[in-house]
């Protein structure tokens, strides 16, 4: 009997933990800034992105043709953009400003023009 009570207690605690965890995850997901970005020769769409400081961001990249890259040195983030999959980059902007980004996987004649910017606001 004593062991049954202990088992119920453990199950209750575990259930409560799972509930709180899921709740926390959902709250975080609701607060995330999700931006879907397509990359193709030789442009990003959208190329100018606005994010809020301190709010977790999820950048979901899709390449429409070949390997591209995303490098934003000012925010210290980069991502390979492989074709045929969603390439996800998670980060939390920690400073305000406008930060240029560029393709850093050489992709052809217009590679140098493949640029954009992230503006982080308060």
């Amino acid at each position: 009997m004593k062991s049954m009570k202990s088992g119920l207690l453990i199950c209750s605690v575990a259930a409560a933990f799972i509930f709180v965890s899921i709740g926390g995850y959902l709250r975080a997901a609701e607060n995330e800034q999700v931006v879907k970005i397509t990359a193709k020769k030789f442009e990003y769409s959208p190329k100018d992105i606005t994010l809020k400081k301190g709010v977790p961001a999820v950048l979901e990249f899709t390449s429409l043709d070949r390997l591209h890259g995303f490098n934003c040195p000012g925010l210290g983030i980069r991502q390979d953009i492989q074709p045929g999959k969603v390439n996800t980059l998670r980060f939390t902007p920690d400073k305000v400003g406008t930060f240029p980004f560029h393709c850093d996987n050489f992709c052809g004649t217009g590679h140098e023009r493949m640029t954009g910017s992230i503006t982080v606001t308060e």
Binding site: N71, H102, N105, F106, C107, G108, T109, H111
Partner: protein
């Protein structure tokens, strides 16, 4: 007129009949003579971008490289060798056109009187096909050679489309360096800068820091690279890095403009910002002496 130090040495009798001044004695002169035998210079030419054809950027796009070849051929004293540090051709998405441009480049530089000419790829040559077409013309993309008492290393940071050296090449570099003395004179060539020169404009090598870390224990290392189309000298630790002018267009100084854009052709100052360089390696001196020249061979 390019330096006549060798002529001077010949006139002074070093390397030939020795003129004994009485100052320092014969032994000293012999040491100088031995040292002079190890003195040499080479030329660095870079970013010729053969196939580029925008007159707003270079009104003499088909003549600039040819003029540089003529200027080199007219040197009274020829260098020991010439190194082209990448972007020999201008990028094209057409594989056949890429080969045509590399062939055009090769035809022009075949007119150089000096035949000890070395090459390495830039991303425009090799970044789209991992060096496949480039290797048909120049089989090696990374290699070493020794000249007199200097060890030269050519690194390929462009054939990988991610602009990295890669684990295999880093292992190869590590093995090569392990064979060198810590005070060996080492010259490293690469197309892109190995260090983070200006990442916002993609002027760096993704895993270049690993190469820098390997080179740092050596006390006499200097690097020469292209890619940024301008003369620039920086140091990381005890390593001096030297960026070369291009032979097609110039870029503005890093971070001096909102975007990296080619500097337009100035009819009042044609070929401004373009040129090549001479590097004097003097025995017993750690740092090489660098002299910049215009496309037409005028000392700057």
């Amino acid at each position: 007129m390019i330096i006549d130090r060798r002529d001077f040495l010949k006139l002074a009798g070093i390397g030939g009949a020795v003129f004994v001044s009485g100052l320092g004695g014969l032994e000293s002169l012999e040491n100088k003579a031995l040292a002079a035998e190890n003195d040499f210079f080479f030329l660095q030419l870079s970013d010729t971008h053969w196939g580029f054809n925008d007159v707003a950027v270079n009104a003499d796009y088909s003549g600039t490289l040819k003029k540089a070849v003529e200027a080199v051929n007219s040197l009274k004293v020829q260098p020991d060798f010439i190194m082209f540090t990448g972007d020999l051709s201008h990028v094209t998405d057409d594989d056949d056109e890429r080969r045509k441009r590399l062939s055009g480049f090769r035809d022009i530089v075949s007119q150089l009187k000096l035949k000890n000419v070395r090459f390495m790829p830039g991303e425009h040559d090799a970044g789209l096909d991992e060096g496949k077409a480039y290797k048909e013309f120049y089989p090696e993309t990374h290699y070493t050679f020794d000249h007199k008492d200097v060890h030269f290393i050519a690194l390929d940071n462009v054939s990988d489309p991610t602009s990295a050296l890669g684990a295999n090449q880093l292992d190869w570099l590590r093995a090569d360096l392990q064979k060198q003395k810590k005070d060996a004179r080492i010259v490293v060539f690469s197309h892109r800068p190995l260090y983070e020169l200006y990442p916002d404009w993609d002027w760096y090598t993704r895993d270049g820091a690993e190469a820098i870390d390997m080179l740092t224990p050596y006390s006499n290392v200097v690097t020469f690279h292209g890619h940024i189309h301008q003369e620039l000298h920086r140091t990381t630790g005890n390593i001096a890095h030297n960026a070369a002018k291009a032979l097609m267009w110039a870029f503005p100084p890093p971070g001096s403009a909102p975007k990296k854009v080619q500097i337009p052709w100035d009819p009042a100052q044609p070929y401004k910002g373009l040129g090549f360089r001479q590097v004097d390696m003097t025995a017993g001196q750690t740092a090489p002496t660098i002299t910049e020249f215009s496309v037409k061979g005028e000392k700057l």
